[in-house]
Symmetry: C2
């Protein structure tokens, strides 16, 4: 039987998503299974069972290669997963080996999760046709990924793309990493929610924001906030604008170093759209030195939560073809 | 006659340096001629006459290719020189055409000056053996250049490598570019001297710094200051340390994005050595997220003012070989 299917996996802290693509990158289907945070092989075996109907039954006769995107420090050459805060039972071990244990001896492509997502966007989403593209993923924290000359930049110690920890102000708010003034401390949902709670504590929140916070309590999230901002609440709009301006400073710094085709903004916080992208563009453009580069598109991601699994399937295909 | 010589040219605002290398990169000689800031072709013709003894006389029968590094926005594909503040009579024209007018129809490689210097260091200096390397050049202003996967990163609009305009503090000192808090505003010689003059104006300079400034007047330069700092003057050491810490913040930001093999610090201000590199390393290391990347070498450039001409000769050789 022809080996013509490529499995892309995106492992998150609670669920593992997958996409199965053919040689042309067309998705034949996908799904998700719960993550067993203590055991990678067991999780991947459950995923294999779930995907079996598409993969063609036991032994996966049509499966050509597997790609796996995983949060944490992933070395795509050795297959080693280093630090991975959301997957304590997976870290500091041979992730490539876990894939092989579940799927047998096949070409395996590994990537950090944001690298996987950017690769998906690059091949099938907001980065199509680019050769140099940067992604900033605004989630709980802020991740990033860089493609240069058509190739993912992994870095010498698998440490590239940590855009969330670019220090934008050395007396800025404290970041989870221990530094002050990282982009993440403003533009990740944790930082954004903290800014809101500070306004509440200082008694300078608007009545509608105070009411929302009271009603939602600990469940308050950036989607609640963006709805309130969309409805016109100036204080909440100001919180997104401040995050957007800091994002803009980071974008300009990246453009001055890399001068890419475009910048893609993804992650849940980016669903706030122009509430954050408007102030981002406004702040970024005048800080970009090369006049021609000021027109670079700063665009939202297109593939949403599927991006990393789609990208992992693409990376699997590249790997099977003897590329990287 | 075998075409076996490669001419590398580095055009500065006052002088144009050149190096002539053989196929193995060995320098056979070099020199410099004054820059005619109003006319590129005339300057290059004077250079050709000066280099004639090594190049083997009229018609340059042994000359295989020419590389030219030039300050400003250089498009290596079209040969176009855009903005170039120090060469007003050269900018916004066909630099490749000027080389051809002086040397005839030969392969021509063009690069921005810091890209040329980094390429020289990469092939023959502080970057030998690296595949991913960043250079920060601390001159009057602050320039930069990036090599990724063994290739110079020029950028989509020839705007990559403008590391001097990374914004490190949005309420920082005013930069020549009009923004606030750029690396250049602290770590270029203009920024450093301005910091000293502010200390003098505020009456908080040490007596020996005040005496030095009085004696040197408008001629005061960073070499004077580093001598005073080496001699132990705490206030002057503090000025270098502040520049070094800001350089460290920029280095960490670059490492978190690019995770290179090493960072090379060049330019005249870098001659202050550990006065600036010590505080730079101290500030950078804890800001780098990937633990393994914290050991990356932050090293001084090795080729000094010859770097860009050496790099340009290397780029000429690559071009003649049919590479980039």
């Amino acid at each position: 039987m022809t080996k013509d299917l490529y499995l892309g996996i995106d492992t998150g802290g609670t669920a593992v998503k997958y996409e199965i693509a053919d040689i042309d990158g067309l998705t034949l289907g996908g799904g998700e299974v719960p993550t067993d945070p203590s055991n990678a092989t067991r999780t991947l075996q459950a995923l294999a069972a779930d995907a079996a109907p598409i993969l063609g039954g036991a032994g996966w006769p049509r499966l050509a290669a597997v790609g796996l995107a995983c949060a944490g420090i992933v070395n795509p050459v050795t297959g080693w997963l280093g630090r991975s805060p959301n997957l304590p039972g997976w870290e500091n071990r041979d992730l490539g080996g876990a894939v092989t244990a579940a799927f047998g001896s096949l070409p395996v492509a590994l990537a950090n999760d944001v690298n996987g997502a950017l690769y998906g966007e690059y091949r099938y989403g907001a980065g199509r046709g680019c050769r140099n593209v940067v992604m900033i993923a605004l989630g709980t924290g802020v991740g990033g990924a860089v493609i240069v000359h058509g190739e993912l930049l992994v870095g010498v110690h698998s440490g590239a793309g940590e855009i969330g920890h670019m220090v934008l102000q050395d007396d800025g708010p404290l970041c989870t990493c221990g530094s002050r003034g990282c982009l993440e401390a403003w533009a990740g949902s944790t930082g954004l929610l903290r800014a809101v709670r500070r306004l509440l504590a200082d008694g300078v929140a608007s009545p509608s924001l105070a009411e929302l916070a009271r009603r939602r309590g600990a469940a308050l999230n950036t989607r609640d906030l963006s709805e309130l901002a969309e409805a016109g609440d100036a204080v909440t709009r100001g919180v997104f604008a401040e995050a957007g301006r800091r994002l803009g400073q980071a974008v300009a710094n990246l453009v001055n170093v890399l001068d890419p085709d475009r910048i893609i903004i993804g992650g849940g916080v980016a669903l706030a759209g122009d509430l954050i992208l408007g102030p981002c563009r406004e702040r970024a453009v005048p800080l970009i030195l090369a006049t021609e580069a000021r027109s670079l598109p700063i665009v939202p991601a297109e593939l949403g939560p599927r991006a990393a699994a789609v990208g992992a399937a693409s990376l699997a295909r590249e790997k099977a073809r003897g590329g990287r």
